[in-house]
Amino acid sequence: MNVFGALTPIVLLGLTPLVLMLVISFRRSHGLVVVLSLAGLALTVAVLPGVAASTAPPVAPLLAMDAFALFYIGLLSAATMVVVVLSYGYLERAPGNREEFYLLLTLATFGCAVLAASNHFVSFFLGLEILSVSLYGLVAYLRTTRTALESGVKYLILAAASAAFLLFGMALIYADLGTMDFTAMNSVLAGKAREPTLLLLGGFGMVIIGAGFKLAVVPFHMWAPDVYQGAPTPVTAYLTTVSKGAMVALLLRYSQYGGLLDYESVATVLAIIAVLSMFLGNLLALLQENVKRLLAYSSIAHLGYLLVAVIAASREGSHAVTYYLVAYFITSLGIFGIIAALSDERKEADEVSDYRGLFWRRPWVSGALSLMLFSLAGIPLTAGFVGKFYVLTAGVLSDLWALVILLVVSSVIGLYYYLRIIITMYLSAPDDPSSPLPATRRFSLPEGLVLAGLTVLLIWFGVYPAPLLGAIQAAIGSLT
């Protein structure tokens, strides 16, 4: 039995930080570390098709390396590669040692991969903790600035508290069902009466709290704006995409196997969380002047949309979640990438006013940024639109009319702040020389390539989504 064959991607992801650690201890070189991280991640992505085609049994005791897990590992690794490229340009201008940043980053992705493949509470918790502990370091990496430290501590305290909730929830569920394996849970639940015990419900509730913190959905969202604003911009991109994506993958698998959504009360709680997230996120985003904070609230709203599709637990629902997530990855990485690439050592380009008149000086950059924002707003020809369309379809197919209508209403509210950033870029540039000058750093070649690539993908998946849909359907099909 060749379990190792199926686990190759995880092993490669685990080896990458080890290699980095060894290399750093011998020779500090920013460029070399970046190249090695990229190589490790690229290798992981490269072996995925082979693993998928191999006949190795996909399920190990703790990890299910099925097509679903492989798809998500590929997605998360690719997103991490983008973050690595963005970090290179960003950290070049930062003081202090830079190499350990990539060590933490690849380690976090290793944790995410474990989450995506997790089939068991033990691997769930291990993956989550690997991710969280790396993120504490990443968020506070530029430790000489106050805001970074503040957000690091904030993240540490809240994530630790949520992990405690999660563990307690797992214990309660274990006490009730007597197993920690998702598949076994499913069969235990199938044999049980439909009425859940208080123990089980309490356990579900605590697990939702734990997951909710990672996803930053209302009412577990308090950390998001401060951490988003204070963290280095590439880390913010990572928090929005990879970290949340891994948790969504786990939630999908758990809700398919663990019977999470079979209970009316759990579905109701999730629906309330979704509605609160959509509205609070979009409404609070209206008040923001800082782009990173604004995107934090926007992200809260988007996770709310995603939860609607999670609740629409039909198969279309899982497809919709995954498609939406891919679109959201592309868009968020693009936006944060542009913010990171526009920032320089003196000034982070994170105020809305910094973007005033950008179109007249940097038409390409502002064009790409406009497309990204239109994608977040869900305007056709962008991946974000297809994602939103698919989520709405899933909701309507599951007869969730109330949720779907609330989604539409809240996304109309959300339009306003996206449009505000867009129109700011097309206003005439301020004549007053004393006003805070927008950053005008030229992009480096890798940055430019990555951002251009993301823009192309954004349009491609928006105009011709059939191939990606096909890939997702093949992957999700393996889940059931």
Partner: protein, 522 residues
């Protein structure tokens, strides 16, 4: 021949114009003018082919193009052209040519991007008129917002950011409502047949319960009502029209309002015939309210452009009245008004634009006595004021007359009230002439009269208005089959239920025997 060129040509031209804008301000103008003219000529040629087909009794669909697009969800790239689409395509293409011409001197900033947006409007609206897949229709519908958003937001007047944001949010919100209705329709169809499809021709005649049909119909209706606009949903229009650059106002009034009417005709009336029939009275009341309200508010404006914007609301009320009357006369009338209003609103907005370009104001009170200074412009203004008030022999008379004639058979009191709108139109049109062109030149304006370019634009619009007013038969013939087919769709869908309450003389021959305003038979 594939119809994809209708979309690809303006898109390619727009990109070329944008790129050319990097080097020169002149190239984008010529490229856009060439593209739009070629588009228009090809469409005219298509119309010729189409006409020959009708003469020999082979009307109906002209060209169909269908390719799977997102097969997983039953979405296909389905384009088709029928008579109604063709007429609206011609209008779109024609007005785009004029919009390029009218911006020749007034737009000097980022010329390449401006023309890209203009041609993108042409692309998106053409797509709206020929898309026969609801997803595709929705995509084009939404895409048409983007260039308008930029046109108003970048090249607009003093209050442009407010106007463009309001325009975008309101129309996008209504669009999402339509998306929900589309999804609901698709799911209902899927539940009854097991086939997931967004294809219009398959969705037409989907059986559904009365309540479902009612809600879905309402979703579509509100989305289209926002665009048309119908009165409680009109608030974006005066701001957007007033703040837009002239080309933007031309596109908005001449074209974007028409996609609301087109959607009502194509989707609301044929997919939900029974619900629409039940709703007809309410819609007709809304239409009459719109006619009177628009006219009344036009009278109260101090801003010339805003006044023209309100007249649009009034004219579009007649279109809505015609559509929900749902008999052949009124439908033909609605189509004619769509075209005639396209011509006259475009002309009036361009006249206001020319005035503003010269005087830098739109305040009606600051004008006066301009006839003495700019006699040619005054003459053109008088012509379109007459066209707007519905002078026989000009285009809008034909349309409004047909609509009233049709509506009279369905609801007499409402028709009488709608006719009052014609009186109000006379008042505001003449009042505008009085204030701007007659009287004393109190502002002591010394202006250049219309240039050759401006005169050429106006001459083409005058020609179109006269032609449509004096000899509308080719247009009636072109739209006749398409409208008859829609009525068939509706009747088929309604067949299990009761028959339509109002029975009319049917068939194109019956139509042709009623000569509107003495229009001669060919």
């Amino acid at each position: 021949m594939s119809v994809a060129w209708i979309l690809l040509m303006p898109l390619a031209g727009g990109l070329a114009a944008w790129i050319a804008g990097r080097w020169s301000d002149l190239w984008p103008r010529w490229i856009s003018l060439g593209t739009a003219l070629l588009h228009l000529l090809l469409l005219l040629a298509t119309w010729g082919v189409f006409f020959a087909g009708i003469e020999t009794g082979q009307g109906g669909w002209l060209v169909v193009y269908k390719q799977p697009w997102i097969p997983q969800l039953g979405i296909s790239f389905h384009l088709a052209v029928d008579g109604l689409s063709l007429l609206l395509l011609l209008l779109t293409s024609f007005l785009t040519v004029l919009a390029v011409l009218t911006s020749w001197r007034s737009v000097t900033r980022s010329v390449g991007f401006f023309h890209f947006n203009l041609l993108l409007i042409l692309t998106a609206l053409s797509g709206v008129f020929i898309a026969f897949d609801l997803f595709l229709f929705f995509a084009f519908w939404e895409i048409s917002l983007l260039p308008l958003y930029f046109l108003i937001g970048i090249w607009g007047y003093e209050n442009r950011v407010y106007a463009t944001t309001k325009f975008f949010i309101i129309t996008q919100g209504s669009g999402l409502l339509m998306l929900l209705a589309i999804l609901g329709l698709v799911v209902v169809h899927w539940q009854s047949t097991g086939v997931m499809t967004f294809d219009y021709l398959e969705l037409v005649g989907t059986p559904m319960s009365k309540a479902t049909a009612w809600w879905l119909m309402l979703g579509f209706f509100i989305a289209f009502a926002v665009k048309l606009p119908v009165v409680p949903f009109h608030t974006w229009l005066p701001d957007a029209h007033t703040q837009a650059p002239t080309a933007g106002s031309v596109a908005l009034a001449g074209l974007v309002l028409k996609i609301g009417a087109y959607g009502m005709l194509r989707f609301v009336m044929t997919i939900f015939p029974q619900a629409a029939a039940d709703f007809a009275l309410a819609a007709m009341i809304l239409a009459v309210v719109g006619i009177l309200y628009g006219a009344l508010l036009a009278l109260g404006q101090t801003d010339l452009k805003r006044m023209v914007a309100y007249t649009s609301i009034s004219h579009m009320g007649f279109v809505l009245l015609g559509i929900f009357t749902w008999n052949e006369l009124a439908l033909q009338g609605a189509v004619i008004i769509m075209l005639s209003h396209g011509f006259s609103a475009a002309a009036l907005f361009m006249l206001v634009g020319d005035l503003q370009h010269r005087t830098h104001t739109r305040e009606i009170d600051r004008f006066g006595g301009l006839w003495a200074v700019t006699p040619r412009m005054g003459g053109v203004g008088l012509f379109f004021a007459m066209a707007s008030l519905g002078l026989p022999g000009l285009a809008s008379f034909v349309g409004e007359f047909l609509v009233l004639l049709g509506a009279f058979r369905v609801n007499v009191p409402l028709t009488v009230l709608a006719s009052v709108g014609l009186v109000a139109a006379t008042i505001y049109s003449l009042w505008m002439m009085q204030k701007v062109y007659y009287g004393a030149n109190t502002g002591e304006w010394k202006l250049d009269d219309t240039s050759g370019r401006e005169m050429a634009i106006m001459a083409s619009l005058i020609g179109a208005t006269l032609w449509l007013g004096l000899y509308p038969q080719p247009v009636l013939t072109t739209s006749g089959d398409a409208l008859a087919q829609m009525r068939q769709f509706a009747d088929k869908a309604r067949a299990p239920a009761s028959r339509p309450p109002v029975k009319e003389v049917q068939g194109p021959k019956a139509m042709a025997s009623i000569p509107p305003d003495g229009g001669r038979r060919p």
